[in-house]
């Protein structure tokens, strides 16, 4: 079961969308899969509230945020 991933520019399997984020789902998974399945119900069934909060609460990090965060780590 494939979907075209806008971030990677390629076809990917559903399992990638559900596990690529250190075992947790990609935060774009709802937008990408909502037309094909009840993705929210599926996520609730599979992941705990805490896990879902970890993925979906707050805005995703921008590139510049990732960059500055990575520089800090190397410091």
């Amino acid at each position: 079961m494939n979907i075209y991933c806008n971030q990677l520019g390629m076809l990917i399997e559903f399992t990638y969308c559900t596990s690529m984020n250190e075992g947790l789902p990609c935060r774009n998974i709802i937008g990408c899969w909502k037309e094909r399945t009840d993705i929210i119900a599926l996520l609730r069934e599979k992941f705990s509230g805490g896990e879902l909060r970890k993925v979906f609460s707050g805005p995703p990090k921008s590139r510049i945020e990732r960059i500055v965060e990575s520089i800090k780590k190397e410091d």
Binding site: E22, N28, I30, T37, F56, P59, P60, I67, I71
Partner: protein
Amino acid sequence: MKRKIILDEKDIPKQWYNIQADLPNPVPPPLNPGTGQPITPDMLAPVFPMNLIEQEVSTDRWINIPDEVLEKYLIWRPTPLYRAHFLEKFLGTPARIYFKNEGVSPPGSHKPNTAIAQAYYNKAFGIKRLATETGAGQWGSALSFACNQFGLELKVYMVRISFNQKPYRRIMMETWGAKCVASPSPDTNAGRKFLAQNPEHPGSLGISISEAIEDAVTSKDSRYSLGSVLNHVLLHQTILGLESHKQLASIGEYPDIVIGCAGGGSNFAGLSLPFVRDKIHGKKVKIIAAEPASCPSMTKGSYQYDFGDTAETTPLIAMYTLGHNFIPAPIHAGGLRYHGMAPIVSRLLMDKLIEARAYTQLETFSAGITFAKTEGFIPAPETNHAIACVIEEAKKAKEEGREKVILMNWSGHGIIDLAAYDAYLSGKLQDYVLPDDDIKKLLKDLEKFPKP
């Protein structure tokens, strides 16, 4: 009837246009959450050369393009502006549709407009090698081409799943002399951490970014390079909009509508910023950013200073977001936000100088097929978002019986993305509801993946 509007090499623009000089409201700088003060140029110095950081914060309206960069641009620039007669005829529209063909560059997209400039400025600053990440491979191949032109070493961290499944991009990079490795890789602390968890880790863009930055910061004479979002990237891309401006003027045309696809915002900005300038100075022109409905950065959300996480530890930056206090209960549409839009583009949207529209995957592939069947060129999948918008506007012009002039950035070709077209044509991308048995199988498949 003229099909191609060609700009002579001697007429290539000699300066990039910096919208920051003309913005009615400046883009707020990213802030340090610890101090609430703007992030200073020296904080970015470990990853970018100071000459590019100066461009990042510059408010000079015009910035001279160095001769060394112009010399390389002439390998493929100026790019042709096409009149899409066959698409117009197919749609039966009175609109006159023009597309700027950025697919003629060596790597096949608009990306080298900034890759060439960044390679030059790094070399001028004394840098010997660059590190970067790539997802689909479009940016990695563009920077490989550029580094080769200026004699710089390049290491590209390519998301492993893409590395394994898109060999042609990797081969392009290696042909131009870059070292391309699958990420997570054993070459960095970040990569080793993920490989220890799972030796077959498929990778993600986030991991690749971490590896590339770690590489740049810890290696001698090295810096990092990014192909979207940042102000200097958008600046370099204005070459394509400035050329389009001249090309249309040469035939006595001016667009009613300017359209580009927007992921990180660089190709959209490259085409549109010179026209946004006209709009700021009173010209009537509609400017539309077309984005994926699956990650609608601009068509949803609000503009605000925001923290990247609930612990409020990451830097602040002005973006379209839902706000850091948002907690989904139940899962909210917040899960749909993508935080990757360029701050300049976000500012223009906030100030209503541009508008944004979202298109679904099927709409965009359908539009891409229509384009390929009429104009011949096979577009990159992201370019299809702009084409979907063009078709929508051309049909609207037909309904209104108005001879609108539509300008679009055809940001790249899709020759290396044919697998996506194959999936669309064979029905694999159809929006359908999965049967219960398939869902059960998916849930079972998930058992195989470790959780933190």
